[in-house]
Symmetry: C2
Subunit: 304 residues, 2 copies
Amino acid sequence: MINKLLVVGTMAYDAIETPFDKVNKILGGSTTYTALAASKFEIDCGVVSVVGDDFEKKNLNLLKNNSINCDGVKIVKNAKTFFWSGKYHLNMNDRTTIETQVNVLANFNPIIPKYYLNAKVAVIGNLDPNIQLESLNQIKNSADFILLDTMNFWIEKNRDVLNEVIGKVNLISVNDEEAKLLTNTNSLLKAASLIQKMGPQYVIIKKGEHGSMLFGEGKIFIIPAYPIFNVVDPTGAGDSFAGGVSGFLCDKKKINFDLIKQAMLYGSVLASFTVESLGIDSLEKVTKNTLNKRLNDFKSITSF
Amino acid sequence: MINKLLVVGTMAYDAIETPFDKVNKILGGSTTYTALAASKFEIDCGVVSVVGDDFEKKNLNLLKNNSINCDGVKIVKNAKTFFWSGKYHLNMNDRTTIETQVNVLANFNPIIPKYYLNAKVAVIGNLDPNIQLESLNQIKNSADFILLDTMNFWIEKNRDVLNEVIGKVNLISVNDEEAKLLTNTNSLLKAASLIQKMGPQYVIIKKGEHGSMLFGEGKIFIIPAYPIFNVVDPTGAGDSFAGGVSGFLCDKKKINFDLIKQAMLYGSVLASFTVESLGIDSLEKVTKNTLNKRLNDFKSITSF
């Protein structure tokens, strides 16, 4: 039996400006990157999201062609897809959001297809904590392992519900700034310890180009990012990382610290492909061969 | 025979302010940290530096008590020791220099004791490139392996001589900002490649709390920093790292990429002790036992 992975989150159009390039409308959203990265594994991946009727059929087909089940994608008539526009600074690590058009996301009422209620692993992407809670309430007694993402905006705007959500998941994956903001501390070690006390057995802190850290079972694991000569567009790197982590874990029997370590290697490598092109282009082209080749490179770069 | 390590650089008094603590005058300087870290290895370490007659005897004795040969430390009468005053920001990674009193360093004319001219490894610390060149000219045909440090100030002020110096060393160890400034690029991979073309066979790029990268022999190695719960004072971390690297390499027969990788583990761990106290206190107390224990922790934290 092939295990099921559920990914709940956004599908979007992005406008992206970097010091070297610019696009006005490309496919984006956390679900898109996460599901595409996860689709590299031998699992059954289904997505739950919402788009407007401006969402192009070819974009939905792109996911379907990668064996991603889109039954949970609601298309709202006379409405527009979520839109995000951002500009990356010269260091390619910091970015400024220029515009966010929430559009259909404002009334997103996630309905998880019955078939995916008992997913082995569920990824609850960055969304209003109320929507995250609605998703969790549908799966909480049936999904095996739940991975959560969030962002600064929700930490500041809807903390109470977010706390409730965090209390219900197995693994939370946030970046360093978010971890500090969540816990009002400047030390990532302290932050991780405080977040674990909020509920999750495992905490991943992402540090962009500087790699990521895993905390759980009283242990710590730290890996650098896979080094990339030409970073073209960092958008979706964190979501691709989550896709690699969840995709790898999804076909494992019992998820533990050591397996999450391995999963992070895959997540890091998939994220490294993502940043090599604008949007999903480079991620979509990843094959089992190119993935394994880079994974071996990564191991040799970080082993002693 | 015990191999010799030569360390040329500054001995100083520092005034340090962090968000949590403040001291007006403590022992500092690159040579102090580098030699103390290197003294943890079974080598014969000699330092070359200059101080004023305000330099307290107990500070010199501290080095001597750690088996560091101070014959090369010149004490200038009626002059004051180099003084640096800095303030760390809340993230403990960024700092602002409040005051630099060059004092005796202005006329530093390094004379390397004959006994250390044929050192196995020489560390040329951050100094005016003219002074670095004077040191190099004394040892260049006799020392086996030369490690160089520099900083933004000299990259901007004395680039021509610095280039000449860089062309004469085996390994250069700089931080990420310095690497970018040296090569006018924003990519660390490109920077490392360009620096290698300037001469050094090996390049280490230090990223503070984010670890370090090694480039050489067509290979790359990346390690995180050893994670510290309570960073008290980051001063001297980079110099302690250099001390660990050079101390480890000093008793090896033929230095190569794989040995420098191992050396970086020691350098990282020694730096992690340094940041746990103001000044050298915590570094000085490191024993073979505590060093090896943390080294094993570090390996388990970064291995998969």
